[in-house]
Symmetry: none
Subunit: 221 residues, 4 copies
């Protein structure tokens, strides 16, 4: 919870417009080229600041990357949070969740791509641990909490481990996000379904995924 900061103090003092510009340009570069191939000098130039100033704001390329990643994550996190604290039943929440994710994926494709990038990170385990904590803890918390509440109310099956089911749920949603935004997953979607996800009938995809999840969470006798 004690979210760390990955930028230097100077970056906090920068006016919002420039701050957002830097993060957006960074996100664009990282998401299109990948972490290793992204060029921090290019990011600085595109953002209209000097490379020297960039290093006044961020200690390393990696810190810039993580800050960009968090910037994008926060937006979705907020939307998910609003859904999960509502009074809806779990399955209603799931539907809203899926719809929100579809929408968000299209609007903020670059953030999803960055998230996809970090999912393949090869670094020190300590560093990864910190990042995962940063990115996943809030989301996992709202999932698990919602499921537990539903269990208590008897809305969903009783024989499940809510943590594992939360993870399975997230895996499905994340994979869907990737299908909407990342090249490999989009092509995989095409291989499985025969159609391009961008030309697919969103409602059908949502409907099917909802049936899948609904049944998985429900156990009728």
């Amino acid at each position: 919870m004690l979210q760390k900061k990955y930028n230097k103090d100077a970056f906090d003092r920068v006016d919002e417009e420039r701050r957002n510009l830097i993060l957006e340009v960074g996100t664009e570069e990282f998401s299109s080229k990948g972490y290793e191939s992204a060029n921090i000098n290019v990011i600085a130039k595109k953002a209209g600041i000097s490379i020297g100033l960039m290093y006044k704001y961020f200690a390393t390329k990696e810190d810039l990357f993580i800050t960009c990643l968090k910037y994008g994550t926060d937006i979705l996190e907020k939307a998910l949070y609003d859904i999960m604290i509502s009074d809806d039943k779990l399955l209603k929440k799931a539907e809203k969740l899926i719809r929100t994710i579809c929408l968000h994926s299209k609007q903020h494709a670059n953030y999803i791509k960055m998230y996809n990038e970090i999912c393949a990170e090869k670094g020190s385990i300590e560093r990864i641990r910190v990042i995962v904590e940063e990115i996943e803890s809030k989301r996992s918390f709202i999932y698990v909490t919602s499921i537990c509440q539903a269990m208590e109310k008897g809305d969903v099956r009783a024989d499940m481990n809510p943590k594992l089911f939360a993870l399975f749920l997230d895996n499905l949603l994340t994979s869907l996000q990737f299908a909407y935004t990342c090249d490999y997953y989009r092509e995989k979607f095409r291989v499985y379904t025969g159609i391009d996800v961008n030309e697919a009938d969103d409602e059908q995809v949502i409907d099917q995924l909802l049936r899948f999840i609904e049944s998985a969470f429900t156990l009728e006798k």
Copy 2:
């Protein structure tokens, strides 16, 4: 279907011991460092051959990568195929599938890591399309076929799109593979469940995932 070759002919003529050594060393390097950071001079040296010879075997770093990736994929593909053509019911197959994947993930962790790496590939769409076709087409085929057969027999729900359900199933299995092998996913597993996947009770994980899938595929009235 007519799978392309990514190595030069000279590599086919190499004796098996050396061939396997090169692919294993390559897999080790790619899976631990990631594609960009992997160093083919290092791979050549560790495999005990000159860099010049390496380039007699593979035209580019990328070709070496894909050949390593395919080498690992083929092993699992074969195992999955054997399961799916059996006479078992779909849910029995699913169980075997999960168990096989758990086992394979532990035995061939490096190949899973390479697959994870390619899932975040940022390259030309043409190249990605070729790789996805290479890696996913056979697997998707056996999933979809098995599901369709089960539908015809009335073993599973009738209101599903088998292609989408196959994709959802694969997403769950792939995510599990990653949890067993890739740093980010392992840490994510820990954030969600509170335990390290390597110290987790495999049986419980399998059991829970099976319940999730079983219910998703079944629709009792």
Copy 3:
């Protein structure tokens, strides 16, 4: 006419001393080793700058080469231009031309060698076209214009195609330049004349070439 730039902006901002040094060192390396065998790391080192900075100035080895070439060409071009716009008769101009070229060849031998190098260029036709345009267009223009003026005045024969005669003239002058500077042509000069061009009586060479050209351009009845 609107001559392209082959260096990056950063090179324009460099102080003149360094700029000239880089071009001179580059010219020396290219003219002595040839384009392919020239080593830009060596050029950078000899010019006292890092290789990284070299690439801040020039995008590629080729751009450095062309910039060096143009640097040398401009000097001679200027001298030729001054001669050709004078009021002298064509044959007087020719004499001045030959003398200037002899002098220039000795003073700027390395640039002639680079020009000789580019004359054997094997590259994409588009690239060659651009370079030829760059190097030859001004020179051809002043030759053709001078010849046409002389024709109008009746100073020279009327039955010639001025463009072709300009080319023939340039071929003779260029060959002479090469004889003064390039190994193959110098040795060829020796094979034909029995003497080394550097030990030859310049006045005799000039005198003979002038007679050759003079007669070629004149048609007495």
Copy 4:
């Protein structure tokens, strides 16, 4: 005169078909790529022999190059020789010469390109001296001899140095050869004349060059 051999004895024992094939393939590779960029392993493969055998025939890449060059030169040399020993007057010879060169340039473009390549050679002066001797001596001899004979007969001007005039003549002819075959010279021809040499009216070019030469060699009072 004592022509050196640049191939090993083994190459002399090879049957003619293979010998010619090797030289033709080599010529093609050298003329299209240039000496440095040509790849001797590729030449061997295209000629259908092993690289090992190639080195049984030629000690170095350079020896192969020179052997190819001589192979092509011999053909033209023979044709020129036949012209120059004829009874024709010098100017008639010159016309035949130009026509032969035009024809030869089109039929054996690759050899001209190789000759063009060697004209920009950067090597040890000793080596270049040997090559020049090899290539130029016979040609210069027949030029000079023909001119001297014409002088004795009073067919041409008496105030010329026959050796220098022979060189000037050769320079003009060589430049024409290059215009017909080498990219830089062809583009230069276009810049000077406005037309592509391949679409030019050959007769006009020949006619003009002949007038140029004719006048240069003649001195009417």
